[in-house]
Amino acid sequence: MSSITKSSPSRTSVAFDPAWKTILECAAIEVFEMMAGVRPELNSASTGAPTGEQTAMVGMAGALCGMTTLRCAKETSARFAALMLGESAASDHSSSGDALGELCNMVAGNFKSKISTLADHCMLSVPTVITGADYSMETSEPTEVVLVPLLFEGQPVWVSLVIHT
């Protein structure tokens, strides 16, 4: 369960809770089930860092400051777009990235709505989508990172929550 700590008189932040990993897993799987009609499995064998040419990111600010990301291969992203929008979307690169962005936005929203202390006290940014695999993301310390590796049709999909603590 999350607890609230006062970090300043004007701002209340929610302390990181290790249970958020399970909540993020549930939030992500629920979004894929409801919006794309598929249920990715947990990829418990995954040990490496996330890879893939498409990354969607949604910033979070307020009681929790950080970022939710969703990363996968372009083909996987196109598959999600086809499931959400119809087959014609699979060949449209822009739709495929936008669909991944919307999925990421819903994962972030669904995650925070499951934590009562965040629901009304954390705002989300509009999604940003990066295309390309050769990048690294650096955030200011201190941070906690929650990584949820999933498998969809045999392909890896990573959901992450990077939190400034």
């Binding site: 629920e30 979004v31 409801m34 919006m35 777009a81 959400m84 929008l85 119809g86 979307a89 739709s95 936008d98 669909a99 962005g101 919307e102 936005n105 819903m106 972030a108 929203g109 669904n110 925070k112 709505s113 499951k114 965040l118 629901a119 009304d120 705002m123 989300l124 509009v126």
Partner: protein, 128 residues
């Protein structure tokens, strides 16, 4: 079954398509689907009249969904047109504010076509 003319308001074109698809998957027969990417554009569409329903996101640039909803009070063509707000946020406060401002219901993303039907059908009448 009544055929519907609906307005979908969202700053994401992909989300507008997703909402339209969900309405069709929910079994609603749509004769015309108008789109707007913010509340200001949506007001222009509403003033043309003839709408059966409006579905609007809350968080949008230029004019957000709550401001749009409040602006509808002064638009004759919007009288009797049900508005359903769509939100990704888990914020109860914003949902309550939307309902107080005249929204007839809300949909929280993610949603299934079944949930869309549950929320939308009772507002339409005519055996939807």
């Amino acid at each position: 079954m009544k055929k519907l003319k609906v307005l979908i308001v969202d700053d994401s074109s992909v989300m507008r398509k997703i909402v339209e698809r969900a309405l069709r998957q929910a079994g609603l027969e749509l004769t015309e689907v108008l789109e707007a990417s913010n509340g200001a554009e949506a007001l222009t569409q509403v003033q043309k009249g003839g709408l059966d329903m409006i579905l609007s996101d809350i968080n949008m640039p230029v004019m957000d969904g709550l401001e749009f909803l409040k602006s509808l009070a002064g638009v004759e063509a919007a009288k009797g047109v049900p508005v359903i707000m769509i939100t990704t946020e888990g914020s109860e406060a914003r949902v309550v504010e939307a309902l107080s401002a005249g929204a007839k219901g809300y949909l929280r993303k993610p949603f299934t076509p079944e949930q869309v039907k549950e929320r939308v059908a009772p507002l339409l009448g005519g055996g939807q």
